[in-house]
């Protein structure tokens, strides 16, 4: 036997038991969190698409909703509907209480010091825009710098481009390594006394990379920068604590954490939110209105002009109840075992290229195949009932960085199973059959 064959044999011996072990670990943790019962809470997971059972692996785009979230919204419209913060009547008082209870719930969920640090928005995008317009725009000047990274979603890039263009501040971009990690080797050149804002993602929606937020926030604060964390791809995957990481602003979207669309969370340190101008004006956000002058409400209501998305807030509250019922620590451990298994199994598919690091990783695995374009991959997967995304994932600079027009992306949630990963891998072999 040649040396080469020896190595190959060794590798095979090594790899196979390894993925088996990974699978066993994922199965063990699945039993621990009661995965079967948990899946039963998601009515859509029972459906078939194109004649096959649905395998939903597009969770980084949006997660499915548990029955309790659907019921909460249904109950709100069937039994509880009224406007908040207005009516002197029973229903209005009740729903106002519920609405504010969700604010507290969100505050506890992400570790805010006080409830008034939580502002309800349309989603993570609106949260970033709010900070860009109300905090950055009036404060930045030529000579100031805004630092973002190469792995930002367009939502954490374009608003800062606008601020830079309007204020004369400079937009700088922290590079990433070939492994898909933030390149911190020259951090001191990017993060300087000039940096007023450092906005970056907790977890990349393309690469799945978990960034060292705590360490970076500490360094940013040393040079006096204000830090905005895009938590959209983090909040449903592991415990998040804004006081522990010590960020100044944090945003997330309800629909990526088992809640409804159109609702999001902005956390901001109370002193920062207090000194900011309102983002939008109108009803609800005022204390006193005269033609000569208007006195704005205190935070957080100052940032919630008009009738808010009440059903969204109620649904979000229920989504947090769901997450708490499973336990964020449990979710984190199970998903880590599942994504490790997925990474290992996908790595075995010939001709595949996985973007981003092996660890630390959460949620998404983006990949390309030498035989087929990402769109064709996703379409063959769709034919097998497997929902994935193909394209640039609203992160064109990442695509450019890796010299790719697009990638296919499978992204997991707590309800996905090792069997579903096997189905994905099997379908990728089919892609090879067709296009190889």
């Amino acid at each position: 036997m040649s040396e080469f064959e020896n190595i190959k044999l060794y590798k095979n011996l090594f790899l196979d038991p390894n993925t088996d072990k990974m699978r066993l670990r994922a199965e063990f943790l699945a039993r621990k969190i009661g995965l079967e019962t948990l899946r039963g809470q998601f009515p859509i997971l029972d459906t078939s698409v194109r004649g096959k059972p649905l395998v939903y692996l597009d969770n980084a785009a949006t997660t499915q909703k548990p029955q309790m979230v659907i019921d909460a919204i249904n109950r709100y419209y069937s039994r509880e509907n009224a406007n908040v913060h207005r009516g002197i009547h029973y229903l209005s008082e009740k729903i106002t209480d519920k609405y504010e209870e969700v604010r507290s719930k969100v505050g506890r969920f992400i570790g805010a010091k006080v409830d008034c640090e939580i502002v309800f928005t349309k989603g993570a995008t609106e949260g970033i825009n709010l900070v860009a317009y109300s905090y950055a725009l009036p404060r930045l000047k030529p000579g100031d710098e805004i630092l973002i990274t190469y792995m930002e979603h367009h939502s954490n890039l374009v608003p800062w481009q606008v601020v830079a263009n309007k204020t004369g501040a400079k937009l700088r971009v922290l590079p990433i390594t070939d492994d898909g990690l933030l390149d911190l080797s020259n951090l001191q050149e990017y993060l300087t006394e000039k940096t007023r804002i450092f906005a970056f993602t907790y977890v990349s929606n393309v690469l799945g990379t978990i960034n060292p937020v705590k360490e970076l926030i500490k360094k940013a604060h040393e040079v006096g920068a204000v830090v905005v964390i895009d938590g959209a791809q983090a909040i449903a995957h592991f415990p998040v604590n804004v006081q522990e990481i010590d960020c100044d602003f944090f945003v997330a979207s309800g629909h990526k954490m088992y809640g409804p669309t159109g609702i999001g969370i902005l956390y901001g340190r109370a002193p920062l939110l207090s000194e900011m101008e309102p983002y939008q004006t109108g009803g609800s956000m005022i204390l006193n209105v005269k033609f000569e002058e208007t006195t704005y409400a205190h935070i957080p209501h100052k940032f919630e002009a008009g009738t808010p998305n009440i059903e969204g807030v109620i649904g979000l509250g229920s989504a947090i109840d769901f997450l708490n019922s499973v336990g964020m620590q449990n979710i984190c451990m199970y998903e880590e075992s599942l994504i490790n298994y997925a990474y290992a199994k996908l790595s075995e598919v010939p001709g595949i290229r996985i973007l981003g690091p092996h660890t630390p990783r959460a949620g998404a695995i983006s990949f390309t195949m030498d035989c087929a374009h990402p769109h064709d991959i996703s379409q063959i997967l769709d034919e097998e009932g497997i929902a994935t995304r193909a394209g640039h994932h609203c992160a064109q600079p990442v695509m450019e960085r890796f010299g790719l027009p697009a990638t296919a992306r499978a992204s997991i949630a707590v309800y996905n199973t090792p069997d579903e990963i096997d189905l994905l891998v099997k379908a990728l072999h089919r892609v090879r059959e067709i296009f190889g």
Binding site: H373, H375, Q379, E383, A390, M399, P405, A406, I434, F435
Partner: protein, 150 residues
């Protein structure tokens, strides 16, 4: 028609072995077509002889459907005068607008009929039409800028 069947036909052959897939040494006009949503990007090069598309080539990257569509386009338009070429392009655009449950008149559409299966996947229609939009612009004399699907 399953995806398998859709890909299987002539389409897959054109995608794997695209015809006229190179930058010619000489050409009269070139134009890039780009789909910003998926990153599909093709450049077409045409050599005219008077009013006739003497030869037509393309290069670029895209999914199987877009590449096959571009390849088929070059085989259909070569040697046609501008009016004939525009008619073929119009036939193709009409085909793409025909509901997918309507049977395709294979005699009328000829080679174009192999692309008819794309209609079952509405989000892929743009993949198929990008090359045609690009060449249409060339024939209309609009070659100053990039053509995009958006």
């Amino acid at each position: 028609m399953s995806t398998r069947a859709l890909y299987e036909k002539i389409l897959l052959d054109h995608a794997k072995n695209p015809r006229n897939f190179k930058v010619p040494e000489k050409f009269d006009v070139k134009l890039e077509g780009f789909n910003p949503l998926c990153g599909d990007q093709f450049t077409f090069y045409i050599v005219f002889e008077g009013d006739v598309v003497k030869s037509i080539y393309f290069t670029g990257n895209g999914c199987a459907i877009s590449k096959a569509s571009a390849s088929i386009l070059t085989t259909l338009l070569e040697g046609k005068c501008k009016d004939e070429a525009m008619n073929i392009i119009q036939s193709f655009m009409n085909l793409m607008r025909t509901p997918s449950n309507e049977k395709v008149d294979e005699e009328k559409f000829g080679k174009l009929a192999v692309l008819a299966g794309v209609r079952e996947y509405p989000i892929r229609i743009k993949c198929a039409t990008l090359p045609w939009h690009t060449v249409e612009k060339i024939l209309q004399g609009e070659v100053s800028s990039q053509v995009t699907t958006e």
